[in-house]
């Protein structure tokens, strides 16, 4: 009898890119839910907008490059990019901001480099950075969290703001705690006084602590499943905490607490979902430790002295550049070889 042949191994691999990406999307749910709870349904509208734009763009780029559509569209990577971008945007950002960001992320951030796996930069963060640089005013106009605002705007109001070309009236929006801290400290206001504003309740500012806890929960689930390596989030959070602690202890009057850093801004989202993007992060164990802690350090530096309110996007993009070099110099010692 004759048989067909194929090279070993003869059993099918279990994991798939799609399963991986869907797992990460599922892990985003608690964080996104907290964000919706604290900042209203605008978050969902942004997600939807970004998803439509990103998937349409992915499809047309694939078609233009003569690639098969279905496997890549279904692998979930474009959807993940879209959601990561959308949750970084203010909930009332006008539609064209979101669409432009998503198109930029998919086109320039991904396909111009050769598609998934070849992009040196995290596409979502590239899109975010471009938006922040181009439209700083719109990008920092967040809504006040539930509890601070009298009431969250309803659907009609939200749709009106998002789809009209006119932004919401200034009185309706508010800067984030990180942003407020930066501008007020810059104006010489004392930290105590800034903190007395209703925006700064709890661990890290009203609303934001819940969002961060949500992402921490989802991220821990990813860790537990072994879907992401522990080194990056551990090193990121550890270094950020340490740096913040040192400065807080040295000068408590002008540096916020380490917990404010850990549970404020995009810290948890960045540590578990953005810095761990496999394509653009370091892949060796030691490399990941260095990569994670340098991002943590950069986040602290940018938040404390940089020109932008949060530093996660820029820190990640900067370290993306260093990842290949880190990988090369942190190769593990193969079995039975002397350390170099």
């Amino acid at each position: 009898m004759r048989f067909s042949t194929a090279p070993a191994p003869h059993i099918q691999p279990q994991a798939s890119v799609r399963g991986l990406m869907l797992g990460v999307l599922a892990a985003l749910v608690p964080g996104v839910a907290a964000q919706v709870w604290q900042f209203g349904a605008g978050v969902l509208i942004q997600c939807l907008l970004a998803l439509i734009a990103a998937l349409a763009c992915e499809a047309s780029m694939l078609w233009g490059r003569g690639r098969p559509l279905v496997p890549s569209l279904l692998d979930g990577s474009a959807a993940l990019t879209a959601v990561l971008l959308a949750v970084s945007l203010p909930p009332v950002a006008p539609w064209w901001i979101t669409v432009f960001g998503a198109l930029f992320a998919i086109t320039v951030g991904k396909h111009l480099y050769g598609g998934l796996g070849y992009n040196p930069f995290n596409p979502a963060m590239l899109g975010y950075a471009v938006l922040l640089i181009s439209f700083p005013r719109t990008m920092t106009a967040w809504l006040p969290p539930t509890g601070v605002a009298a009431a969250q705007p309803g659907w009609a109001e939200l749709l009106d703001w998002i789809f009209r070309l006119t932004p919401p009236i200034d009185g309706m929006t508010m800067a984030t705690p990180l942003d407020t801290l930066k501008t007020q400290l810059g104006m010489g206001v004392a930290l105590d006084q800034i903190r007395s504003s209703p925006l700064f309740g709890g661990l890290a500012g009203a609303g934001w602590q819940w969002v961060n806890l949500g992402y921490l929960l989802g991220g821990s689930w990813l860790l537990w499943r072994g879907a992401i390596a522990w080194q990056i989030p551990a090193a990121f959070l550890g270094t950020l905490f340490l740096a913040a602690l040192i400065f807080f202890l040295a000068e408590p009057a002008s540096f916020p607490t380490p917990l404010f850093h850990l549970f404020g801004g995009a810290t948890m989202l960045g540590a578990f979902f953005i810095a761990t993007d496999p394509v653009t992060a370091s892949t060796t164990p030691r490399g990941r430790l260095i990569y994670g802690s340098l991002i943590g350090l950069l986040v602290f530096v940018i938040r404390s002295w940089g020109g932008y309110p949060d530093g996660v996007a820029f820190a990640v993009l900067l370290m993306n550049l260093a990842a290949p070099t880190l990988d090369h110099f942190t190769r593990p010692r193969p079995f039975g070889r002397q350390r170099r």
């Binding site: 009898m1 004759r2 048989f3 067909s4 042949t5 194929a6 090279p7 070993a8 191994p9 003869h10 059993i11 099918q12 691999p13 279990q14 994991a15 798939s16 890119v17 399963g19 991986l20 496997p71 890549s72 692998d75 990577s77 598609g115 998934l116 796996g117 070849y118 390596a229 496999p278 394509v279 653009t280 992060a281 892949t283 060796t284 990988d327 190769r331 593990p332 010692r333 193969p334 079995f335 039975g336 070889r337």
Partner: protein
Amino acid sequence: MAIAGMTEWFGFHGGIQLDTPKDLAAGSGLLLCPLSPRLIFPLLQRDGRNAKPRVTVGQRVLKGQPIAGGESPGQPFIHASSSGVIAAIDDRLLPHPSGLSGPCIVLDADGHDEVVEFAGVTDYRDEAPEVLAERLHAAGIVGLGGAGFPTAVKVRPDGVRVDTLILNGAECEPYISCDDALLRHRAAEVLEGARILLHILQAERCLVGIEEDMPQASDALTAALGGWNGDGIEIAPVPAIYPTGGEKLLIRVLTGREVPADGIPAEVGVVCQNVATAAAVYRAVVLGEPLLSRIVTVTGTGVRRPGNWLTPVGTPIAHLVEQCGGYTDRAERLILGGPMMGFALLSDEVPITKSANCVLVLTVAETAGRRPAMACIRCGACAEACPVELLPQQLYWYSRSDNPDRLAEYHLSDCIECGCCDFVCPSHIPLVQHFRAAKGRLAARRRERGQADQARRRFEARQARRQREQQEKAEAARRKKELLQRMSAGQVASPAQTGDLAEGRTASPQSRES
């Protein structure tokens, strides 16, 4: 997970947990494969050379008679595994990943199973190690774990002191249970083989590594040994993680010693043998019996009745599968070895050789079209799984760009082709296939470079010879001229000078030849 009497484990990086359907064949007991009317003995040896036949077509041979090989310790003997007549010595399909044909001796068994006389030693302890090693060579014993390395060579490592013998009974690949069957039914033979090997090696201790999910085997072993250790032999259950059964990894797990990447286990004082090899050593030394049969696991959802069969070497796989009730309707792929490292066979006409431990038949559903490979997303899952701590994602990158320097820098040559990386890759990249191809290209390049070097050396030698010859010719011509001048001056030529002249002439045909 602790088992009484367990020794300490030393960890290693990576590896994967595989759902091991060992039970498929393990419940069958040890079955005796009836003699096949036709036996086939491929002459291709492990080192790539062909063993020299010792018989001619038409000759009648007895069971146990050497029919090929045995020229040197590196060239093991091949014995007839039953009596009969040599029907042919010709090229046939080989049980080899290449799918190529090569010379084989074909024996038509006469069914009498007539045996040459075997004579064992009365007490191996009275024999010198080299005498016993010679016996192993004469018995054609090679590693039965799959590698097929001649045992006589392995038990006489040059100039190093071996203190530990490891018997490998840790079948880490799913489906394979031939060692399990052997240990359950012939534990005493394995232990006696271990004692003989300890004597040959003059080593102090023997560790029998078995997987912790082989309870019956460990029961049989402890019963035969009278406990978890004795006589310097210790039974050591190891974690059932693939590929713990890999030689270097098993040594690490049991002794904590790390065999150098380019080295052999003896360099760290260890010799590793499969448990089945130990049993064969016992039979060769005590019973005087050459290696004529081995236990083969025939399994997979593609055969009707999976089982472990004591099979004469040379038995065609088709015959063996027939004993298992034949193939199921959906049998799709025939694999020699395990699902991770075994290779697919084109046809079941190829025979069982000494190193064939498993015949695995998978169905359409299990093999159905490997999902298409996507781009590497650099997730690092492969690196986490690699037991050698390589970076498969980088190796993949550099093998695609065919960058020999980088491949060397990332130690492609250390890859044991275990398939762990392949198995965990979410992008379904056939990594091992890429690595095998890249290794092939590197080897071809080395060969080419070797050939180029040789050609250059030949060319330079020829140039040098030409030059020398030209000088000689010029010299001869000069002498001739001198001689003629002297002769014309009326002097008489001396015998020595005419000799010179003759030499000068002989140079010319030589130069034409080159």
